[in-house]
C-alpha cells in the first residue's frame, strides 16, 4: 500500500464512527428530539462493546452490546424529555457527563487489556482497482455497514412513507398529532435509533479502531457528530462528506505530527485542526438560508405535550 492509499484508508476508518453516530442523530433530530448526549452514549457503547468482546471473544456480540448500551442510555433520555417533558438540552448535557463518567468507572478493570486486531474484509475484483481499491474495498465490515446505513437512511427519509411522517413530525408535531400520528411514540423510536447508532459508533472505536479501552477515548467525537448533523443541514450526503473531511484532516495532521515534515507547529494546534476544519467547511456549505429552512426540523428541541 502506498502512502496515498494508506492516508485514504485511514481517513475512511476515522470517518466511519462519525457517520454512524451522526446518521443516528440525524434521524432523532428529524423527529424533533435534540439529544446532546451522543458523547456519553458513544462512551457507553465503547465500554460495553469492549467488555463483551473481551469476554466473549466475538466482536459482533460486542457491537450488539454497544448498540444496546447506547439505546439504553437514549431510553433514559427519552423518558426524561418525552414522557416527563424535561428540557432536552440540559438532559442531553447530563447524559453526556453521565456516560463519560460511568464508562470510565465500568472500564477501570479493562484499562490494560488489548483486543485482537480484526482484519479487513476484502471485496474481490473491486479491491484490485489501483489506489482507491484497497482503501475502499479492503475495509472493516463496519465501514461497509456505514455505507449501507447511509443508503438506507437516505431512502427511508426521502422515499418511504415512514420517513415522510418523520420529517413532517419534526416540522410540526401539532399538525402531525391533529392528523393522527402518535408523536411521542415516533419520537421514542427515533431517539432509540439515535442512541443505538451512537452505541455502535462507540463500539467501533473500542473494538475495531484502536482496539483497546482508554478512558475518554471517544475524545469529543460525539460532539463533532452532533455538529455535523447541524452543519450538514440535516442531509445525509453532507454528513458523509463532513465525516470523511474530519477523518481526512485527522489523519493528515497525525501524518504531519509523525513525520515531522520539518515544520514547527504546536501539536495541540494540529490536534484541534480536524475539529476546526470540519466546522469551518460545514458552516460555509450551510450558509444558504433556504436549504436550512427546508431541511431543519422546526420543532427541534421543543417538548411536545399532546392536547388531552
Amino acid at each position: 500500500m502506498d502512502t496515498l492509499s494508506a492516508i485514504l484508508f485511514a481517513t475512511i476508518v476515522a470517518g466511519t464512527p462519525l457517520i454512524i453516530v451522526a446518521l443516528g442523530q440525524l434521524i432523532a433530530e428529524k423527529s424533533g428530539v435534540l439529544n446532546l448526549g451522543a458523547e456519553g452514549m458513544m462512551a457507553m457503547g465503547a465500554i460495553a462493546g469492549f467488555a463483551i468482546t473481551h469476554h466473549s471473544g466475538s466482536p459482533w456480540l460486542g457491537v450488539l452490546a454497544g448498540m444496546a448500551a447506547g439505546a439504553l442510555m437514549s431510553f433514559l433520555f427519552a423518558i426524561v424529555v418525552l414522557t416527563l417533558m424535561g428540557n432536552q438540552v440540559a438532559t442531553g448535557l447530563a447524559l453526556s457527563i453521565l456516560g463519560v463518567g460511568l464508562s470510565a468507572f465500568i472500564g477501570k478493570p479493562y484499562e490494560s487489556e488489548i483486543l485482537p486486531t480484526i482484519g479487513p474484509i476484502r471485496i474481490p475484483l473491486l479491491a484490485d482497482i489501483p489506489i482507491i481499491g484497497d482503501p475502499l474495498f479492503n475495509q472493516q465490515a463496519l465501514v461497509y455497514l456505514s455505507w449501507l446505513l447511509f443508503a438506507a437512511i437516505a431512502w427511508f427519509l426521502y422515499r418511504s412513507r415512514p420517513g415522510l411522517v418523520l420529517r413532517a413530525l419534526g416540522e410540526s408535531p401539532t399538525s402531525a398529532h391533529s392528523i393522527g400520528y402518535p408523536v411521542i411514540r415516533i419520537r421514542y423510536l427515533a431517539t432509540l435509533f439515535g442512541g443505538a447508532m451512537a452505541g455502535v459508533g462507540g463500539a467501533f472505536l473500542s473494538v475495531f479502531y484502536t482496539p483497546l479501552w482508554v478512558e475518554g477515548m471517544v475524545a469529543g467525537r460525539g460532539w463533532i457528530a452532533i455538529a455535523l448533523v447541524v452543519f450538514a443541514t440535516w442531509r445525509p450526503l453532507r454528513v458523509i462528506v463532513g465525516a470523511y473531511l474530519f477523518g481526512g484532516v485527522m489523519v493528515a495532521q497525525l501524518f504531519v505530527q509523525g513525520s515531522g515534515l520539518g515544520v514547527n507547529i504546536p501539536s495541540q494546534f494540529l490536534s484541534a485542526l480536524p475539529y476546526l476544519a470540519t466546522i469551518i467547511v460545514l458552516v460555509i456549505i450551510s450558509r444558504d438560508q433556504n436549504t436550512v429552512r427546508l431541511n431543519a426540523p422546526v420543532s427541534l428541541g421543543q417538548p411536545y405535550r399532546p392536547e388531552a
Binding site: 415522510l164 420529517r167 416540522e171 391533529s178 393522527g180 427546508l294 422546526v298 392536547e307 388531552a308
Partner: protein, 518 residues
C-alpha cells in the same frame, strides 16, 4: 362498526351532554347535537363560544370530560384523529395542519391511509382540484402558498378520504364568490350522496344558503337550534351574540387630503421561486380614505404586503412613498416611525410573538409611543397600553400578562388591530382584518377601521373577502397575477364586476388611463 344506512332513524352523529373544561375556562357545557345522514349542519357561535373545541372532540384531537358520542347509532370514544378517520370523519382545520417544508402531494399523502404512490396521488389531486374549483399545484412547497391556497390543500386532502362526515371550520373565508358557489355545489353534491357536513362559519348568508339545520353556541352552551332558511341573518346573529348585530356606519369620506401612500410602478421579482412577481403596481392613497384591494389569494398580495411593510426591500426607494418619504429601501422600523402601521396576514409569528405576553407584544410596535426611558422599558406605561387595548377592543383573555398564543384567533386579531389603531398611525396597511373572526367581532373591527379613517388615517385593506371590502372601502382595486387594476369608487362598481376582475380581466382603456394619470 355496523352499517346504519338500512336501519331507519339512526343519526350519523349524536352528541349528548358533551362537557369540556380547561383549567381557566369551560369550553363546552352540556352540548347536545344530532346530525342526520346527508345533512349540512351549521354550528354557529362567536369566538371562544367553543365551536372549535367541540369539533376537536368529534375528531379525536381532544377528549371530552363528560358526555357521550354516538356514531351511526353506536357509542364511540374517539381515541385519536386516525380513529376518527377510520370511522369516516374528515376535518378541515381553521388553523391549518399542514407541513410547510413538504410539498402539496406529500402533505396530502400524510393524511391518507396506506402508502399512496405520489405521482398517482398528484394526478388525483389535480383531478379533485379541477372538479371542485380549488386550483393548486401539487408539486409546490406549502411554505410558498398563501393562506387561501393552504386552505384549498386542506379541503382537497379531506375530500380525497371520501368521508361520511366532513367537518369544515370556516372553509370559505378565502375563496372568491365564484369559488364559494363551486364549493357549495360540491358540498351539496356530497350531501346528496349521503355525506353529512358539519359547517362552521360566521357568514350568516352562507349558512342560510347552504345549511339545512343550525345549532347555535354561546359561551360553550347551546342557545338554540334553528332552520336557517326560516331565519334572517339578524335573527341568527342575535341568537349567537345575544344582541342585535351592529352594522358598520359608512359615510362617504369627507375631503381627501394629502397623499399618505404612493406606489410608483412598483415591480419586484419574487424572492420565492414559487411566488408572484409584482409588475408596475401604482396607486395613491390619501388621508381619510380606505382603499380595498381584492383578489384571489396567491396573486401577489403577500409580495405586495412584504414590499409595503419593509420586510422585503425594493431597489428603487421612490417606488414606495410613505407619508412623503421615499421608503423603498427603508426597514420596517423606519417606515413605522414615518407613520405607518401594519397588520400582517399571519397573526402568530408575524403579527404577534406566540409565547410572549400581550404586554410584550404590545411593546413590539408601540415602543416609539413614549414607552421607553433612555432605552429602559417603562412597564407601567406598556401594561397600561395593553390593558387599554384589551378593554377598548373587547379582547377576551386572561389578562395582559397572558401569552399571545393562549388567545383564540379572533381575539388575538382584535388585540393586534387594537395595538395598531391605538397608535393612531397616519397610514395603516391591513391584511385580512377579519379572517376567521366572528360576525360580532368583525363588524366591530370594520367599524373601528372606518372610525380611524374619519380621524384622517389613510387605510389600505388587502382582503380576500369581498363583502368586507364592500363594507369598508371607499375605493376598490383588484390584484391579479401581480398586476393591480385601476381603483374604482365603490358606487361605480359591484361584486360581479370585481369578481370578473379577479381573474385579471379589467378593461384596457382604464389601465391606459391609470398609466396616463401617473
Amino acid at each position: 362498526m355496523t352499517s346504519a344506512t338500512d336501519g331507519a332513524p339512526a343519526f350519523r352523529l349524536e352528541l349528548e351532554g358533551i362537557t369540556k373544561i380547561y383549567p381557566s375556562v369551560i369550553a363546552n357545557e352540556d352540548v347536545s347535537l344530532k346530525v342526520e345522514q346527508g345533512e349540512i349542519h351549521a354550528v354557529l357561535g362567536e369566538n371562544g363560544a367553543g365551536k372549535s373545541t367541540l369539533m376537536k372532540m368529534i375528531y379525536g384531537v381532544a377528549k371530552p370530560d363528560a358526555g357521550q358520542m354516538k356514531w351511526e347509532g353506536e357509542l364511540v370514544h374517539v381515541e385519536n384523529p386516525a380513529h376518527a378517520r377510520s370511522l369516516g370523519i374528515g376535518m378541515v382545520f381553521q388553523h391549518f395542519s399542514l407541513f410547510e417544508t413538504l410539498n402539496v402531494v406529500e402533505n396530502v399523502a400524510l393524511a391518507l391511509p396506506g402508502n399512496p404512490e405520489l405521482a398517482q396521488l398528484a394526478a388525483q389531486i389535480t383531478e379533485v382540484s379541477n372538479r371542485y374549483g380549488l386550483p393548486v399545484d401539487p408539486e409546490r412547497l406549502v411554505h410558498a402558498l398563501s393562506v387561501g391556497e393552504r386552505q384549498r390543500v386542506e379541503i382537497i386532502r379531506c375530500l380525497l378520504q371520501n368521508p361520511r362526515l366532513l367537518i369544515m371550520d370556516e372553509p370559505t373565508s378565502v375563496l372568491t364568490p365564484q369559488a364559494v358557489r363551486k364549493l357549495f355545489d360540491t358540498l351539496r353534491q356530497l350531501a346528496a350522496e349521503g355525506c353529512s357536513i358539519l359547517y362552521i362559519s360566521h357568514k350568516l348568508d352562507e349558512i342560510q344558503e347552504l345549511c339545512h339545520v343550525a345549532t347555535v353556541l354561546r359561551d360553550g352552551k347551546v342557545t338554540g337550534d334553528c332552520i336557517p332558511s326560516q331565519e334572517t341573518p339578524q335573527s341568527m346573529a342575535s341568537l349567537m351574540i345575544g344582541k342585535e348585530l351592529p352594522v358598520p356606519e359608512h359615510d362617504a369620506p369627507s375631503e381627501l387630503r394629502e397623499v399618505r401612500l404612493k406606489l410608483n410602478r412598483l415591480s419586484k421579482p419574487s424572492e420565492d421561486p414559487f411566488g408572484t412577481e409584482l409588475r408596475n403596481i401604482e396607486f395613491e392613497l390619501r388621508s381619510g380614505e380606505i382603499l380595498g384591494i381584492a383578489g384571489v389569494s396567491g396573486n401577489g398580495q403577500q409580495e405586495l404586503l412584504y414590499a409595503l411593510s419593509g420586510e422585503e426591500l425594493v431597489s428603487d426607494p421612490d417606488s414606495v412613498v410613505i407619508c412623503g418619504h421615499p421608503s423603498g429601501c427603508d426597514m420596517p422600523d423606519r417606515r413605522r416611525r414615518n407613520g405607518m402601521g401594519f397588520v400582517p396576514e399571519e397573526r402568530l409569528g408575524r403579527g404577534a410573538v406566540p409565547r410572549m405576553s400581550l404586554t410584550e407584544n404590545a411593546l413590539l410596535t408601540a415602543h416609539p409611543a413614549d414607552m421607553l426611558n433612555h432605552g429602559m422599558i417603562r412597564f407601567d406605561r406598556i401594561s397600561a397600553f395593553a390593558r387599554n387595548c384589551i378593554d377598548d377592543f373587547n379582547v377576551k383573555c386572561g389578562g395582559e400578562e397572558h401569552a399571545a398564543n393562549s388567545l383564540s384567533g379572533g381575539n388575538l386579531q382584535k388585540f393586534i388591530m387594537g395595538r395598531e389603531i391605538l397608535l393612531a398611525p397616519k397610514l395603516l396597511v391591513v391584511a385580512q382584518p377579519t379572517w376567521g373572526v366572528d360576525v360580532g367581532a368583525a363588524a366591530f373591527i370594520r367599524q373601528r377601521l372606518i372610525d380611524l379613517r374619519d380621524e384622517g388615517t389613510a387605510i389600505l385593506v388587502i382582503s380576500e373577502e369581498l363583502e368586507e371590502l364592500f363594507e369598508v372601502s371607499d375605493r376598490i382595486a383588484v390584484i391579479a397575477d401581480g398586476r393591480l387594476s385601476p381603483a374604482k369608487q365603490l358606487a361605480d362598481t359591484d361584486i360581479d364586476e370585481i369578481g370578473v376582475w379577479m381573474s385579471g380581466m379589467w378593461d384596457q382603456p382604464a389601465t391606459a388611463e391609470l398609466d396616463a394619470h401617473a
